[in-house]
């Protein structure tokens, strides 16, 4: 692919040359498939993202929102890429299928393993939960006592929210650290699905 780029076209103008190189859309999406970097590099970068965000917000809630915002942009891209690679060129319309997709495909792409559980809340019918017993992101992070309610996985919540939005299942997504014995970082991603989606689900159920 790159050999075609270098042959023939020689021009002084940098911009003209840039225009002549194939755009990202023309490149093979599998080019870097399976590529890896050190988890430490990610941990350093992520800690800087948190620090930077923290300096620009007032409270924990704002901080989580800001992290979610950064995660949201990641989520849009993760969704597109995984969807293209799965070769499923159709949009999921049912909430449960979207959730299963996030639980397995997306989690595997991001963290190399599926999430530990996907549950439906028994109390509220619009709430679903994805649980990760040892979130990769929290691995090197210790949250200070005075910020106990902060969950670094708000970033992941942002990713999930973007994917749900992309699938036309808008939801409010939040992350909560819920430690259990031996799993201090256990995190629950709580998804509160929008009313309009639930109404649509009901329609789809009855029309079957």
């Amino acid at each position: 692919m790159s050999s075609g780029r270098n042959s023939g076209l020689t021009t002084d103008s940098k911009l003209a040359r840039k225009a002549a190189t194939p755009s990202s859309l023309e490149k093979n999406i599998n080019r870097k498939r399976g590529g890896e970097v050190s988890l430490n590099s990610f941990a350093f970068l992520f800690s800087e993202i948190i620090l930077y965000s923290q300096n620009r917000v007032l409270g924990i809630q704002d901080l989580e929102q800001k992290l979610g915002e950064i995660g949201y942009r990641v989520g849009i891209r993760v969704y597109e890429l995984t969807m293209l690679r799965e070769r499923v060129i159709k949009r999921e319309t049912r909430v449960i299928n979207v959730l299963l997709y996030i639980n397995s495909v997306v989690w595997k792409f991001l963290f190399g393993k599926p999430a530990d559980s996907l549950e439906k809340s028994t109390e509220n019918k619009d709430e679903y939960m994805i649980t990760d017993n040892e979130p990769l992101l929290s691995k090197f992070i210790s949250v200070p006592k005075e910020m106990a309610s902060f969950s670094p996985c708000s970033f992941v919540a942002g990713i999930v929210e973007a994917i749900l939005d992309s699938c036309q299942c808008p939801a409010r997504v939040t992350a909560h650290t819920v430690p259990v014995d031996g799993k201090p970082h256990r995190t629950v991603i709580l998804m509160k699905i929008d009313k309009s989606v639930l109404a649509r689900e009901e329609r789809l159920d009855t029309s079957k």
Binding site: L39, N40, R77
Partner: protein, 188 residues
């Protein structure tokens, strides 16, 4: 000696590194850059902020680096060796790439980064290029921060970037001075 660094880098990468998906990492960096562009008015400030973020990372990353590689100070006899280690061990173990060291002497060196992972699926708009954005500018701060912690005061600048329409991505490291080791007061 040069060969040893390469195999050391390979060895550390293969045996002592936990990994994470490259694309996820790159998307996250991209999202951060977008956030900076939103938060700051001009691209110059974005460059500066990226540099600062890199610096903070570098200062801490060097500890991790030394702990994992067991490189001792006599190995870094001169700046040339430092450049080799940086490219063949440092870049390898954190980003799984090995930049080419071009023209290095004892006061400066040029690194050519082929296949910069951060370029993946990235295109800069003409405004960003005109505004002087160096997309991967955090490299500069990172290298500066890491080397400062081992008593080397350096200045790092980007020379060219594929994303800006150049043929290659390369950066220059100038050694300013070797910082004297100072014993903190009251420390015997």
């Amino acid at each position: 000696m040069a060969k040893n660094f390469r195999s050391l880098g390979e060895d550390v990468w293969k045996t002592r590194i936990e990994r994470i998906n490259l694309e996820f990492f790159v998307f996250t960096y991209g999202s951060l850059v977008v956030q900076l562009i939103k938060d700051f008015e001009d691209f110059d400030s974005v460059n500066k902020q990226l540099d600062k973020i890199g610096y903070n990372m570098g200062v801490r990353l060097i500890d991790d680096f030394l702990a994992r590689t067991h490189i001792k100070s006599p190995t870094c006899r001169d700046f040339k060796a430092v450049a080799e280690i940086l490219a063949k061990v440092g870049f390898k173990m954190y980003l799984n790439i090995v930049p080419t060291v071009l023209s290095s002497d004892n006061s400066k060196c040029v690194l050519q980064i082929d296949d910069n992972p951060f370029d993946l699926n990235v295109e800069l708009s003409p405004e960003m290029i005109a505004g002087g954005l160096w997309y991967s500018n955090f490299y500069c701060g990172l290298i500066r921060g890491a080397l400062e912690m081992v008593q080397l005061s350096v200045n790092v600048t980007f020379l060219s970037d594929v994303l800006r329409g150049d043929d290659t991505t390369s950066l220059q490291i100038d050694l300013l001075k070797v910082i004297d080791e100072q014993v903190p007061e009251g420390d015997e």
